[in-house]
């Protein structure tokens, strides 16, 4: 295992690869505002669905990153995990993580004594560097991804283009293609 190569990959991932979803979301958002100002509401609705999908993709990538951390010293390591993971891997991993009380160990994070040696704010480490706080932080970000409605909406974007509708509202069992676009909302 080449630790230097993996570390370099992670730094490039942070500084370059992760700017791509942000750029994409920013472009969609700018076009959406333009369409809104032009009273082009069909485009607003479609762009909103695209922006929502971009958000869910980002969440899935974040889950995949956590999943890859947990496999950093296994064959393929972080890079291969990020290249080959399936959606179900992320969901199962997060489910396990959410029900665990040893999140630090699962994510292979360093021991507290090592953190104390390297982290400047020792008080912060003493108080917050534990599985309970880390889990709370991860849940705060990732719970939206674990919401079945959010994922279902995203899957509909992938499978039926932009024809999204809440079938339960209109009394149908299956979504139909080429119907009106409904804007997903999540609070």
């Amino acid at each position: 295992m080449n630790l230097k190569r993996t570390a370099r990959f992670l730094r490039e991932y942070a500084n370059f690869s992760l700017t791509i979803p942000l750029e994409a979301a920013d472009c969609i958002h700018r076009e959406l505002i333009k369409a809104y100002n032009d009273n082009d509401f069909d485009s607003v609705a479609k762009l909103q669905v695209k922006l929502h999908a971009e958000m869910v993709v980002s969440l899935e990538s974040a889950g995949a990153l956590l999943y890859s951390f947990s496999r950093w010293d296994q064959p393929g390591g972080i890079e291969m995990t990020l290249l080959t993971y399936k959606n179900v891997n992320v969901r199962e991993f997060l489910n396990n993580l959410f029900n665990s009380d040893n999140v630090l160990e699962i994510l292979c994070f360093p021991k507290k004594e090592d953190m104390l040696k390297h982290f400047e704010d020792k008080d912060y480490v003493e108080e917050y560097y534990n599985s309970k706080e880390l889990l709370r932080y991860i849940k705060h970000i990732m719970e939206m991804y674990m919401n079945r409605i959010i994922r279902t909406l995203y899957n509909k974007v992938k499978r039926s283009g932009l024809a999204i509708r809440d079938v339960s509202v209109i009394g149908e069992k299956k979504p139909q293609k080429n119907t009106k676009v409904y804007i997903p909302a999540y609070n």
Partner: protein, 49 residues
């Protein structure tokens, strides 16, 4: 045509801010992990997980 009000723009702002927050978190986590990986201070993974 779907009904779209100013709420649609607010929702779009929220989605964009969520993406920003998620990306910033991932950047911090990646850098954090790289730092401790370089120093060989990460815990070993368990194959049971």
């Amino acid at each position: 045509m779907p009904v779209v009000g100013v709420g649609a723009v607010r929702l779009a702002d929220k989605y964009l801010n969520n993406v920003k927050g998620i990306v910033e978190t991932m950047q911090k986590l990646s850098t954090f992990f790289a730092y401790y990986l370089e120093r060989n201070l990460l815990l070993s993974s368990s194959k049971d997980i």
